[in-house]
Amino acid sequence: MNPNAPRTIQLFVTCLIETLRPEAGMAVVRVLESLGIRVEFPRAQTCCGQPAFNAGAWDDARAMGRHTLDVLAQSDAPIVVPSGSCGDMLVHHYPELFAADPKYGPLAEQIAARTYEFSQFLVEVLGVKNLKARCAGRLAYHPSCHLSRGMGISAPPRELLSNLQDGELVEIPGANECCGFGGLFAIKMGEISSAMLARKLDAIESAKVETVVGCDVSCLLHLSGGLHRRGSKIETKHLAEILDSYVPTNI
């Protein structure tokens, strides 16, 4: 592990983990703590505003952005986000949204510079690639669009998963293609979104996996909702939930 890595982080847990998959957030906490990282959780955090930003309601998105920036500015610790989509918002879109704002513009740049997605933080900041975690059966990684193409993070999650002690990592055909979620796109363009989901679910089912692992609860929510509707037994897990099976030894 990188000896110069920060020892304290702030967790921006995201609104979807807060409300729909809290167990993924707790897994993030346990994995980081097991590596000796102190986790702060700024309590006033809510939503980064990405749904409003993507829908074109930029004034509302800015209001949420200002709130989030104020909350995260209260500590100097780096920020860890267990989501590529919210991470992309903080790292790329805040600086753009507030480019003309004399107060929040510089703050957005500052926060963006110390924000990391969870797998990125583990691999690129902490230098941890092998957590000796366990996961039985066949699993596949779903690279979410905003993590892989938005934030440009492709290798870290795969690296962490390839070092699982057991379990067989397989590829979903056309893995890099969108699952069709796209936030409010799934509501506004429900038919197209459904067609994209059907294609993705066919690909997942053809890979004969037991678990689909991702770094974005948003896509996992979409995939699990589709799988449940199909009556499939395939489970979806956040990367942190897989790594949480790690038992600390000596680092």
């Binding site: 829908a55 309601a57 429900g190 197209i192 699990s224």
Partner: protein, 479 residues
Amino acid sequence: MSQQTSNVTFHERVEDALRDQILHVALERTTERFQRLRVTGMGSLPNADAVRDRVRLIRAHTLSRLDAYLEQFAANVERAGGHVHFAADANALNRIVADIARTHDVKSVVKGKSMISEEAELNHALEAQGVRVVETDLGEYIIQLAGERPSHILAPAIHKTKEQVGQLFHEKLGVPVYTEPAEMTAAARAILRFEFLNADMGVSGVNFGVAATGTICLVENEGNGRLTTTAPRVHVALMGLERIVPTLDDLSVMLQVLARSATGQKSAVYTNLITGPRRNGEGDGPDELHIILLDNGRSRVLGTEFAEILYCIRCGACLNACPVYREIGGHAYGSVYPGPVGAVLTPALGGIAPWSDLPQASSLCGMCREACPARIDIPRMLLLERDAATRAGQMPWWLRFGLHAYSVAATRPALFGLAAWGARVGTRILGASNQGWIRALPPPLNAWTQSRDFPAFANESFRAQWEKYQGENQEQKRK
């Protein structure tokens, strides 16, 4: 720009497209293949990333002083004996072409592929004055026979299966029902050869105009472009005014990525470089060359945050890579330019009001940006279009209200907690009968439950679990 089917809504076109099983087969066969060929094609280019950077730089530089380059281009075309016309809009373009046709007593026209001609609906304008127009690009020929519109900027008949084309040729050309594309091509070729030799005027598109030499470059695979531009007495070349490159060296950079991005070919079968009409002593070529530069909103876009979309070199890679295009095809967009580039270009040129659905039809997955040889940030401009749509009052009221209410709550943590609590109670009631999964949500959220279940909110939020966990840790420390 005109809307193709003004009384049918975008959603209706999408539903029709999704129901169309034949369209699905056609798109499946082609987009995936193009996509694969592009990846291999670009993979064969040494330093592909550096070349793409160079492409982007050349496009940005050219557009930053487009007026100077256009003047240089026009002067050099004239010096080579050609004529240059500026058309402010589609009507002006059609008028200019019609005038040229009238002056030269043109009865029949052969056409190479040109998206500008589609943008201006030139065929109608010419036919209205009694001129016969024959499309000679095979794809364009197919859809002209079918009375349809292109659904892809590069492969206009991509929405048709070869089975459909076999049937169409049988009905329209009186040939047997062919099953092999080679037989269909041979049938079309036999007819088109005759048309080339008897046409009075050839109309072509232009891939690039070279400012330093006044040369136009036309890239194609069928040879129809070469015949269109050399066999008839008059050649009219239609070009968007942004399609300028400063020098032949710059052109060679563009050509390194164009065919590779489009079809995976290292270079197209025919790369025509045309400088002026036929000169004394030359055997082939037209007596007159007219180049028409179409503005139609482009110069207005130049000064805006959408200027980057004019970097586009029309390779079609973003269409082939787009998961939305692959599901709905090009006609559903209702615009001349479909797919990701069309969803930005169409409202940029024609205004957001009639086209506000187009930028919404994207999950912002970023495949288009990844595929684009000029690295155009299409998702970013789709977001800008969405913002523009909202400011133009084009967001549905329920969404506007919902997002505003959400932002009011999200900037007040206590209220946000309360709203989450309410949603938890609500979703747990709705999901009670199905192990916590909701099968049907009320409108407009039923768009979600049409194909997927929605989970009830967790019993204990992260915040609650975190606080409990902190408490336990404290207790352990005290022990």
